[in-house]
Structures are given as structure tokens and as C-alpha cells.
């Protein structure tokens, strides 16, 4: 990952920016029923362990290139993304097949309520994080650059 970020730094023009956006595994996703104009929370959906490990590795890679002085963080934030489902069964199928999440939600409503609303429309509310980073390019005089370039020696 760090190698990829160094490559990205290489292809960015001075003043160029890198935008890193991905699901925020630090925030638990929610399974919600559409209720009129609002939502009723039905369950919580955790990220699976392997994805958590990958996300932490991505965080470390970003931290590494910041430490190396290749990038500077300009802005970061989080927004919610709603994935719509036509029924509770469709949401369950999604969880079963989607590699990112654990396969079963932790329901916060009882089974009777789930059965009663099984045919209602649902959403999965997931947090997406983003960070805008600007590439830091050293302005090295061309003579100095030539002197430090092994291909020129």
C-alpha cells in the first residue's frame, strides 16, 4: 500500500491532490426499516475481522506517507451512505454474500417485529470516510537534481 501511495505521489503534479475514500469500519453500520419519512433501527452490522485488519493497514499506509512528508492532509470527514433494499430478506442476502460485513446483523428488535415487517423496505446505513491530501513536491534546482540522480552519474 505504501508503494502504491509513493507511486501516486510520483504521478501527481505539484499542488496535485489525492483523495482516499472508503467505508469507515470504525463505525458500525445499521440496518433500518423505512418508516414513513423516517427510519426505525432494526439492527447493527459489524465489519468482519479481515476487513478491519485491511482497513487498519490502509490507515497505517496513509500515516506512513504523511510521516515521510510526501503528502499533507488538507481535509477529512465522514458521510453516510444508504443502500436500499426491497425487503428484510434482501438485506439478509446482502449480508450473507457481502464479504465486508459479518454475515448476521445484531438485531435490536425482537423476532416478532422482524417477521411483521419482513416485507417492508429497508436500508443499510454505512459510514464512508474520506481524506483529501495534497502532494508535497520539493522544488529542487535542475543542477542539484541531476547531481543526485544516479542515472546521470
Amino acid at each position: 500500500m505504501v508503494d502504491a501511495l509513493r507511486e501516486i505521489h510520483r504521478v501527481l503534479a505539484p499542488g496535485g491532490i489525492l483523495i482516499d475514500a472508503r467505508p469507515d469500519s470504525r463505525v458500525v453500520a445499521r440496518a433500518e426499516r423505512r418508516a414513513g419519512h423516517g427510519f426505525q433501527r432494526f439492527g447493527l452490522v459489524a465489519t468482519n475481522r479481515e476487513e478491519l485488519t485491511n482497513d487498519r493497514a490502509s490507515d497505517r499506509a496513509i500515516a506512513q506517507v504523511l510521516r515521510e512528508g510526501l503528502f499533507k492532509s488538507r481535509r477529512r470527514g465522514r458521510f453516510w451512505h444508504l443502500v436500499p433494499f426491497e425487503s428484510l430478506g434482501a438485506l439478509r442476502n446482502y449480508l450473507w454474500e457481502h464479504l465486508r460485513f459479518v454475515r448476521r446483523a445484531r438485531w435490536v428488535v425482537d423476532e416478532k417485529t422482524r417477521r411483521r415487517h419482513a416485507g417492508d423496505r429497508f436500508v443499510m446505513r454505512r459510514a464512508i470516510r474520506y481524506e483529501v491530501l495534497s502532494a508535497i513536491k520539493a522544488t529542487v534546482p535542475s543542477t542539484a537534481r541531476a547531481a543526485s540522480d544516479p542515472r546521470m552519474q
Binding site: 507511486e7 510520483r10 496535485g16 475514500a21 472508503r22 446482502y94
Partner: protein, 108 residues
């Protein structure tokens, strides 16, 4: 459209729409008139969505099937300033300082 019988469960259509995501990051000014590289572009959903705003968009993905789908999607959308290539982020097949913006959308 809701996921179920009409939208496949594994689909890039389940991700935020490109312009919605761009708005959350800070708005269209981030890419307007810029040379953009979308690393890990998959089926080109994001690259094709942003292309009308950018000067040019290059999409890169290690999966040849995804790149074929991306080219097809761009053709169907009538987008001409986007190109797709198979390749790895660890060895980008581009010249130094070739882009103004690089996007890692759900790719790192």
C-alpha cells in the same frame, strides 16, 4: 432502485453516486478541468461519472474483466475523455507529474 430481485447484490450500483461522493469530499471544484487518475477503477462507475467535469480521466485496475466493462460503460455513456488500462497501483504506467488529481475510491 432497491436491492432485491432487480438489482444484483454484488454491484457497484450499491455505492454512492459519483457526484454525491464528490460533493461530500468538497465539491466539483476538486476535479473541474483537471487531469484525473482513478486507481482501482473497477467497472469505471466513478471515472465515467466524473469525466464530464474533468479535462481527462484515466482509470486503472488490475482486473482485465473490470477494464473491459469500464470501456463498455464509457462507450455506452458516450464519454470520450476517459481511458482505461489494466495495471497495478504499485507500478503506475504513467509519466511523472501526469495528473492533477488521483482518486482512491474504495480502493486502498
Amino acid at each position: 432502485m432497491d436491492v432485491g430481485t432487480r438489482v444484483p447484490i454484488v454491484s457497484s450500483s450499491l455505492r454512492p453516486r459519483p457526484l454525491d461522493e464528490l460533493r461530500a469530499w468538497g465539491g466539483t471544484r476538486l476535479i473541474r478541468g483537471k487531469r484525473v487518475l482513478d486507481v482501482g477503477c473497477g467497472d469505471g462507475r466513478f471515472a465515467v461519472g466524473l469525466a464530464p467535469l474533468a479535462a481527462s480521466v484515466q482509470g486503472l485496475d488490475p482486473d482485465p474483466d473490470a477494464i473491459s466493462a469500464a470501456r463498455r460503460n464509457a462507450r455506452e455513456a458516450g464519454i470520450r475523455n476517459v481511458r482505461f488500462e489494466v495495471g497495478a497501483a504499485q507500478q503506475l504506467p504513467y509519466a511523472d507529474e501526469a495528473f492533477d488529481v488521483v482518486i482512491l475510491s474504495w480502493a486502498l
